[in-house]
């Protein structure tokens, strides 16, 4: 893999390109994709990304955090850390689209009995975010940079069919750059101190990682004072509706939101920090069908899931049952 690889400059197609030639090349190259890879290469070893100190412990200054509505990834266990350059702050004046300073890095480690993969996201000097994944050896002693196209691990205990998919960098972009915030899970709502006790698969918030803590340590600039005084929470008719909307926020809202490229679909599952309920009824039947589908071409989410999160789907069905959320759906 060459992290500095770039595609040739775009050119118009030949005027009378052979359809046969096009189809041939399409089939041969169907598994490749652009990644928008920036110029600076990632280090080959995870330990050189700043996650660990010289003794192999999590580096001082990093903050471990845990979103209250975590993303389902086939039951893998996850831990997350973030670092900000010294003296820098997050512009939180838009509470649903925090702007992170240049040099921000975050890591997410996926485990199933042993560490499998650690993903890294960084905001570069040009303002763009870049992504990488590191794959752990079976002994759990070292993680090396994954191929740009991703890789599928086999024989992994606890994963469906023993398979675990490390995403391509294009996969990273597909989910992370589909809304107003690229760094997901580190946000006003996800770090609220009013944690949802019914949130599926949530883990306790590490010490010092919630909104008041971030404000106290001076990490946040411009966060509306009301959101510190009154912790944000999703408004629901019932506790189950709150948790169902929260799960949809954490698992679907990064693409299905009102501010990203899929706003044209009119399906808004991201919840604002202000706690308003959905402005329009949600097509619950269609959503449940997509969430339960065993067809990998129609299942939602379209990446990162081999086995549906049945516990959460049951919660969505109960929490959003009846009332105003069911709309007429033309297409299951």
């Amino acid at each position: 893999m060459d992290p500095q690889r770039c595609d040739p400059p775009p050119r118009p197609p030949r005027r009378h390109a052979s359809v046969a030639a096009i189809a041939l090349a399409a089939l041969v190259a169907a598994a490749t994709a652009d990644t928008g890879e920036p110029s600076a290469p990632w280090p080959e070893r995870l330990q050189d990304t700043g996650l660990y100190d010289a003794d192999g412990r999590i580096a001082p200054g990093l903050l471990e955090y845990s979103p209250q509505y975590p993303l389902w990834t086939d039951g893998a266990v996850k831990r997350r850390w973030i670092s900000l350059p010294a003296g820098s702050v997050i512009d939180a004046s838009d509470p649903d689209a925090w702007q992170f300073p240049t040099g921000t890095r975050a890591w997410k480690q996926f485990s199933s009995g042993r560490p499998l993969e650690t993903r890294v996201i960084e905001r570069g000097a040009d303002g763009r975010w870049r992504f990488a994944a590191y794959v752990w050896n079976e002994a759990g002693t070292e993680a090396l940079l994954a191929p740009e196209a991703g890789v599928t691990l086999t024989g992994v205990p606890g994963m469906p069919g023993g398979r675990y998919r490390v995403p391509s960098r294009a996969d990273c972009v597909a989910c992370h750059e589909a809304g107003p915030a690229t760094l997901l899970g580190f946000s006003t709502l996800q770090l609220s101190s009013d944690r949802d006790p019914l949130a599926p698969h949530a883990t306790p918030a590490p010490a010092g990682s919630l909104l008041p803590d971030l404000a106290a340590r001076g990490w946040l600039s411009g966060l509306p004072a009301g959101l510190v005084a009154v912790p944000p929470r999703i408004e629901g008719r019932t506790p189950e509706e709150r948790a169902a909307l929260g799960w949809l926020h954490g698992n679907c809202g990064h693409c299905h939101n009102a501010r990203g490229p899929l706003a044209s679909l009119g399906l808004v599952l991201a919840r604002p920090s202000a706690g308003a309920r959905p402005e329009r009824p949600l097509p619950v039947g269609l959503m449940l069908a997509r969430l339960r589908s065993t067809n990998p071409f129609t299942r939602m989410p379209p990446a990162g899931v081999q086995v549906a999160d049945h516990e959460a789907i049951a919660l969505v069905e109960r929490g959003l049952a009846g009332s105003r959320h069911v709309t007429e759906e033309k297409h299951p």
Binding site: A21, A30, P261
Partner: protein, 205 residues
């Protein structure tokens, strides 16, 4: 997802590519644009003409306009121009092919394809809001072609769609194609979802 089946080094894929290449050497269709709707306000005449030119010379009609049997053989049914696999043509499961270099099956309309990736049905590219590209933005279209994902975010776009070539088109050309597609007659046609390999095969006879 089943993209592992599409490894560029796969012998299956190579054989498939050869067969599809042969199948697609039929004469390319040309669009009859006489009935197209008025241009959107923001599109220029030159841009629309460029888009029409690219759509008609880049093979879009070959798969996205259903074919019918005419006096001279198969020909595109321009009454269904660019509307994708017809919803009223319900395909039976694709036949199981014996092991060997023949690995793909194509429906008579040229809009349904079955191979190692599963079964794919060509999309409705007309501006119908519910079944076509009517809700899509230029960004959705451009990102779909650039990434090979539905709307640039969702499921993989499947063979035989040659997005790996089209993704090298310029932003201007992709904008011209999208602008033109938004002016063709809207046709309500709900294309079926693609099927994974495990759900597509019927026993051979």
């Amino acid at each position: 997802m089943n993209l592992a089946l599409l490894s560029p080094k796969s012998p299956v894929l190579t054989a498939l590519a050869l067969q599809v290449a042969i199948a697609l050497t039929a004469p390319a269709a040309l669009a009859d644009d006489a009935d197209r709707a008025a241009a959107p306000a923001q599109a220029t005449g030159a841009q629309l003409e460029r888009g029409r030119y690219l759509v008609t010379t880049s093979g879009c009609h070959d798969c996205h306009t259903p074919w019918k049997m005419g006096a001279q053989g198969p020909e595109p049914d321009m009454s269904r121009m660019l509307s994708g696999h017809p919803q009223d043509v319900v395909m039976p499961p694709a036949p199981r092919l014996p092991d060997g270099p023949w690995v793909a099956t194509i429906g008579a309309t040229n809009t349904a394809w079955s191979g190692p990736w599963g079964t794919s049905f060509t999309a409705n590219l007309t501006p119908d809001r519910e079944t076509g590209l009517g809700r899509w933005t230029l960004e959705n279209f451009r990102e779909a072609i650039r990434t090979g994902r539905h709307m640039g975010r969702g499921r993989p776009i499947l063979p035989p769609m040659p997005y790996p070539m089209y993704k090298h088109m310029t932003d201007e050309d992709l904008a011209a194609i999208f602008a033109y597609l938004q002016t063709v007659p809207a046709i309500e046609n709900r294309v079926p979802d693609p099927l994974p390999p495990s759900e597509q095969v019927a026993e051979s006879r």
